[in-house]
C-alpha cells in the first residue's frame, strides 16, 4: 500500500504541466533521434543530456526517461520499415517486423509494437514498484559466473535465429565472434587486430556493423532484385482505410506473446550487461518454440515482433532495479543516466530511494507516463511513418543510404566507423546472396565479448576450475535454466507431434490459450 501511494505521489509530481510538456518533448525528440539508423536510447540520452543541465532533477529525469522510450521506439520504427535496428535490443524486431512491412502491414506492425511496449511498460513498472527490493537481492547475486550463463543463454538462441541453415549460420556467428576480438583484450591488455590504430583500441562497435549488414545490405539486395523497377503493391494503404489497425487475429495471436515477453524481459533485464538484447532474442525463440506455426516465423509472424518488443521494453524497467536500488548501472543507457544523476547533484547508491524519494518515484512514474504518451503519439503518427512504405524504392534507397552514413557518423564522429559501415553493407549483400545469416553475426558481435570477458573473469577467480558454476546457488539455478532452454525446442516439438496425433485421432480444436501457457 505504502509503495503504491509512493507511485501515485510520483505520478502526481510528474504530471505538473511543465513536466508533462518535458515528457512530450522528450518522447518526440527521442523518437526523432531514434529514427536515425544507429542512434538508439544510449546515444539519444547522451546527445540530449546536455539539454537537461538547466532543469531541476525531477524535470531532467522526466525528460530523459521520455527520451529513452522515444528512442527505443524510434529504433523499432527503423527495424520494421527499413530493416535497420537502432540498437542491439531491436535486432530481434527486424526478423518479423520487416517481412510484415514488406507485406504492406507496416501499420498494424507498428501499432502492435507500440501496444506491446505499453503493456510491457505497465507490467515492468508494476513489477518495479512491487518487487524492487526482492529483485535487488537477485541483482547482487550476479557475479561473473552468473553473467556468463545469462550471455550463454542468449547465444544459444542463435541456433533458433539461424533456423535451417546450420552450417552457414555457424559461419555467420563465427564471423561476428571474429569481429568481436578486435580491440584491447580486457584480460591481458594486449591489442588484437588493431594494426596499431588508436581508433580501434575499443574494438569494432555494434552500430556500424548492424547498420551496414542490415540497412545498406538490404538496399543493395533490393536493388539486385530489381526493387527500383517495381510498382509497389502497398498502394491503397490510406489513413482512413482501416489497414493501419491490427486485426482481431493479430491480437489473438500475440496477446500471450506480450505477457510472456514482458515477464521474461523484466527478469532478464535485472541482470547487468546485455539484459535487453538477451531478453529480446530469448523472447523471439520462446515465441517460435511455442507457436503453432513456427514455419511462419521470419516471414511476418506478429508474435515474432510483439514478443521481442515487449521483452526489450520490460528489460528497460528491469535495468532500473539495480540502478535505483543499488546505484549500479545495468546497461549503457542506464550508465549515462547515472552520470546524469551526479550532474544534477544526486548521489547514486543504495540510499538514493530513501534520500530522494520524489526523484526516484518521479522517474518510475515518468517511465510509465512516457509509455502512455508514446502510445497516444503513435496513433497519430503511424499513418505518417507507415506511408514511408509507400515511397517508391528508387526514391527511398538514396535517402536510406544518406541516413545510414549520417547516423553512423553522429554516434562517435568517426569516419573509420563510416568506412566499416559501408564495408559491412557490401558484406551484408553477399551474405544475403549466399544465404548467410546477418542477424547471427550481429548478435555474436554483441554477446561474444561479454561471454569471453565474463568467462575469463570466472576462471581467474576459480583458478581454472569449472566447478564454480555449481558451487554458487544463483549460478546453479542458471545452469538449470540454460539446460531447460536447450531442451525447449525438443519438448515443444514433442508436444506438437503429440497434438497432431491427438488431432488425427479426434478432430477437436484445442484451446489455444491453454497450449500457449505451457512455456511461461
Amino acid at each position: 500500500m505504502d509503495i503504491l501511494s509512493d507511485l501515485i505521489n510520483g505520478i502526481g509530481n510528474a504530471v505538473s504541466p511543465a513536466n508533462l510538456l518535458l515528457l512530450c518533448a522528450g518522447v518526440f525528440l527521442g523518437m526523432v533521434v531514434g529514427v536515425m539508423p544507429g542512434l538508439g536510447p544510449s546515444a539519444g540520452i547522451a546527445i540530449l543530456l546536455p539539454l537537461t543541465f538547466g532543469l531541476d532533477p525531477t524535470g531532467a529525469i522526466v525528460m530523459l526517461a521520455a527520451v529513452y522510450y522515444g528512442a527505443m521506439y524510434g529504433g523499432t520504427i527503423t527495424s520494421v520499415l527499413i530493416n535497420t535496428p537502432g540498437e542491439s535490443a531491436t535486432v530481434a524486431s527486424t526478423f518479423d517486423g520487416y517481412p510484415l512491412a514488406r507485406q504492406g502491414r507496416a501499420g498494424p506492425a507498428l501499432v502492435m509494437a507500440a501496444i506491446a511496449s505499453f503493456v510491457a511498460g505497465t507490467v515492468g513498472t508494476l513489477l518495479l514498484t512491487l518487487a524492487a527490493p526482492v529483485t535487488a537481492a537477485v541483482a547482487t547475486s550476479f557475479g561473473p559466473p552468473e553473467l556468463f550463463l545469462v550471455v550463454m543463454a542468449g547465444l544459444l538462441m542463435l541456433i533458433v535465429i539461424v533456423g535451417k541453415n546450420r552450417l552457414l549460420g555457424a559461419i555467420s556467428a563465427l564471423l561476428g565472434f571474429a569481429l568481436a576480438t578486435v580491440g584491447i583484450d580486457i584480460g591481458g591488455g594486449e591489442q588484437r587486430y588493431t594494426f596499431g590504430s588508436a581508433q580501434l583500441i575499443n574494438g569494432i562497435d555494434f552500430i556500424p556493423v548492424a547498420i551496414g549488414l542490415f540497412g545498406v545490405g538490404e538496399v543493395l539486395w533490393a536493388l539486385y532484385n530489381g526493387g527500383h523497377l517495381e510498382r509497389l503493391q502497398y498502394i491503397g494503404v490510406r489513413a482512413g482505410g482501416g489497414r493501419y489497425w491490427p486485426t482481431a487475429r493479430d491480437w489473438a495471436e500475440s496477446r500471450w506473446a506480450m505477457v510472456r515477453g514482458s515477464l521474461l524481459g523484466f527478469f532478464v533485464g535485472v541482470a547487468p550487461g546485455a539484459g535487453a538484447t538477451v531478453a529480446s532474442v530469448m523472447s523471439y525463440s520462446v515465441e517460435k518454440s511455442v507457436a503453432k506455426k513456427p514455419e511462419k516465423f521470419g516471414k511476418g509472424a506478429m508474435p515474432g515482433l510483439v514478443g521481442p518488443e515487449a521483452a526489450n521494453n520490460a528489460a528497460t524497467s528491469g535495468a532500473m532495479v539495480p540502478l535505483l536500488t543499488l546505484g549500479l548501472p545495468g546497461s549503457a543507457a542506464t550508465a549515462v543516466l547515472l552520470g546524469g544523476f551526479l550532474m544534477w547533484g544526486l548521489q547514486p547508491g543504495p540510499q538514493l530511494m530513501d534520500q530522494n524519494p520524489d526523484f526516484a518515484w518521479g522517474l518510475i512514474a515518468s517511465m510509465y507516463l512516457g509509455n502512455a504518451i508514446l502510445l497516444v503519439l503513435n496513433v497519430f503518427c503511424i499513418p505518417a511513418f507507415a506511408s514511408v512504405a509507400r515511397v517508391p524504392f528508387r526514391v527511398l534507397a538514396p535517402i536510406i543510404i544518406v541516413l545510414c552514413v549520417l547516423g553512423t557518423y553522429t554516434v562517435n564522429g568517426s569516419i573509420i566507423e563510416v568506412g566499416i559501415m559501408l564495408g559491412c553493407g557490401v558484406l551484408g549483400f553477399f551474405m544475403r546472396r549466399f544465404g548467410f545469416v546477418p542477424a547471427a553475426t550481429v548478435v555474436a558481435l554483441v554477446l561474444g565479448p561479454l561471454a569471453e570477458e565474463t568467462l575469463r573473469q570466472t576462471l581467474i577467480i576459480s583458478r581454472g576450475s569449472f566447478t564454480i558454476f555449481l558451487h554458487r546457488p544463483a549460478s546453479l539455478l542458471l545452469v538449470c535454466v540454460v539446460a531447460l532452454l536447450c531442451l525447449l525446442p525438443l519438448i515443444s516439438a514433442a508436444i506438437r507431434r503429440r497434438r497432431a496425433q491427438l488431432r488425427a485421432e479426434r478432430p477437436v480444436e484445442t484451446d489455444p490459450s491453454k497450449t500457449n501457457e505451457i512455456e511461461v
Binding site: 541483482a139 591489442q191 550508465a335 543516466l337 552520470g339
Partner: protein, 328 residues
C-alpha cells in the same frame, strides 16, 4: 585620441612577451593583450555524463558565470579510443591558442597501451587541479573491518581475487603495489564496467576491489561495502574514518590527474593567461563544491610543475606495468 595609445601599449607588450618567451613561442602574433579574441574550442575526450565531461562542463560553467572568458566557448565531446580521438584532435591543433581540453587517467594510460602518436609531453600544460584517488573496499559479509584483518585474511587464503577496471590502469597497479608491500598474493580480475565490478564484489565472487570514491560512496555510506584504505594524502571529507595509505605505512601510490591542457606549442603568454584565469576558477565556491561532490583530492600544480607530476606518474605506471607484463 585613444587609438594610438592602445597601439603603442600593444606593441610594447607584444615586444615584451616576444622577448620573454623567446624563440619557443611559435605563434608570436597571439600576444597576451589581444587574447582571447575568438571562440574557444573545448574538447572533451569522453562521452557526456562521464567524469571528464562533468569536470569540463563545471569549468566552462564557472568561466561563463564569472565572465572570465569573454568570447563564446564551444564544448564538444570527441570521444573514442579511450581519449585517443579527442586528445589526438587537440594534438593536431599545434600552435592554436583556442584549442583546449581537460585530462583524466586515460591521458597517461592510453599512450602506454596504444600508438596514439602523442604523449603528455607534447601538450602545453596549464595546471593540475585535483587527483583521482581510490578506495580499497571489501564486502561486509567477509567480516573484515580493518586493513590489518584484510592482510591476515589474504595471507591465510593464500591468493585473493581482487578486481578493478581494465588492466592498463591504476587499479591494477594499486592492487599489485599493496599486495607486494603487505606480503600477500593476488589474482587480478579486470572489468570493463564499474557496475559489473561492484556487483561482483557484492555477489561474493571477488574478495576486494579498488575504485574511485565517487563511484563507491553510495555503497560505503549505506554500509553495503566496507572501505579499508584510501590512497589520497588526506582522509576523505565524507568518509573520514577510512585510513589513508600513508597512515598505514604505504607511500608513493599513484593517482590520476584532473588537469587542463592546451594544444602543443602554444605561446607562453597564452599559457600564462590560462594559469592566471584558472587560479580564479579554482578559488570559486562552485569549484570547491564540485571537488567535494565528486570526492576529488585538491592538488594544485601550475605549468611545469604539472608536467613534472605527469612525468613521475607516467614513468611509475610504465615500469610497474612492464614488470607485470601488461605492456611490452
Amino acid at each position: 585620441m585613444r587609438q594610438p595609445i592602445k597601439a603603442v601599449v600593444a606593441a610594447a607588450v607584444a615586444a615584451m612577451t616576444i622577448t620573454a618567451c623567446g624563440a619557443s613561442a611559435g605563434g608570436g602574433e597571439q600576444a597576451a593583450d589581444n587574447y582571447p579574441r575568438k571562440e574557444l574550442d573545448w574538447t572533451i575526450a569522453f562521452g557526456p555524463g562521464g567524469g571528464n565531461d562533468i569536470m569540463a562542463r563545471t569549468m566552462v560553467d564557472i568561466l561563463k558565470k564569472n565572465k572570465l572568458y569573454p568570447e563564446d566557448i564551444r564544448v564538444e565531446n570527441r570521444e573514442g579510443g579511450s581519449g585517443a580521438t579527442g586528445w589526438g584532435y587537440l594534438f593536431g591543433k599545434r600552435g592554436d591558442p583556442y584549442a583546449i581540453s581537460t585530462t583524466s587517467g586515460s591521458f597517461i594510460t592510453t599512450p602506454l597501451e596504444a600508438k596514439t602518436g602523442w604523449t603528455y609531453k607534447d601538450f602545453t600544460p596549464v595546471g593540475l587541479f585535483a587527483t583521482d584517488n581510490a578506495v580499497f573496499a571489501v564486502a561486509p559479509k567477509s567480516g573484515i573491518t580493518t586493513w590489518q584483518q584484510w592482510v591476515q585474511f589474504a595471507k591465510r587464503k593464500g591468493k585473493v581475487a581482487v578486481g578493478g577496471i581494465s588492466t592498463v590502469n591504476v587499479d591494477f597497479i594499486l592492487h599489485a603495489m599493496l599486495a607486494k608491500a603487505a606480503g600477500y598474493q593476488i589474482d587480478y580480475v579486470p572489468f570493463n564496467e564499474e557496475g559489473q565490478l561492484q556487483t561482483s564484489l557484492l555477489s561474493g565472487a571477488l574478495d576486494a576491489v579498488v575504485s574511485n570514491p565517487a563511484e563507491l560512496i553510495g555503497q560505503l555510506q549505506a554500509k553495503k561495502m566496507t572501505g579499508l584504505l584510501f590512497t589520497g594524502t588526506r582522509p576523505l571529507a565524507s568518509l573520514p574514518t577510512i585510513p589513508t595509505a600513508e597512515a598505514l605505512g604505504y607511500k608513493g601510490l599513484p593517482s590520476m590527474p584532473r588537469g587542463l591542457i592546451l594544444a602543443p606549442n602554444v605561446p607562453a603568454s597564452v599559457q600564462q593567461w590560462w594559469i592566471d584565469t584558472m587560479k580564479k576558477v579554482v578559488a570559486t565556491p562552485q569549484w570547491k563544491n564540485y571537488l567535494v561532490k565528486n570526492q576529488l583530492t585538491e592538488d594544485i600544480r601550475w605549468g611545469a610543475d604539472f608536467t613534472a607530476y605527469l612525468q613521475r606518474t607516467s614513468t611509475d605506471l610504465e615500469s610497474i606495468l612492464r614488470q607485470h607484463g601488461a605492456i611490452k
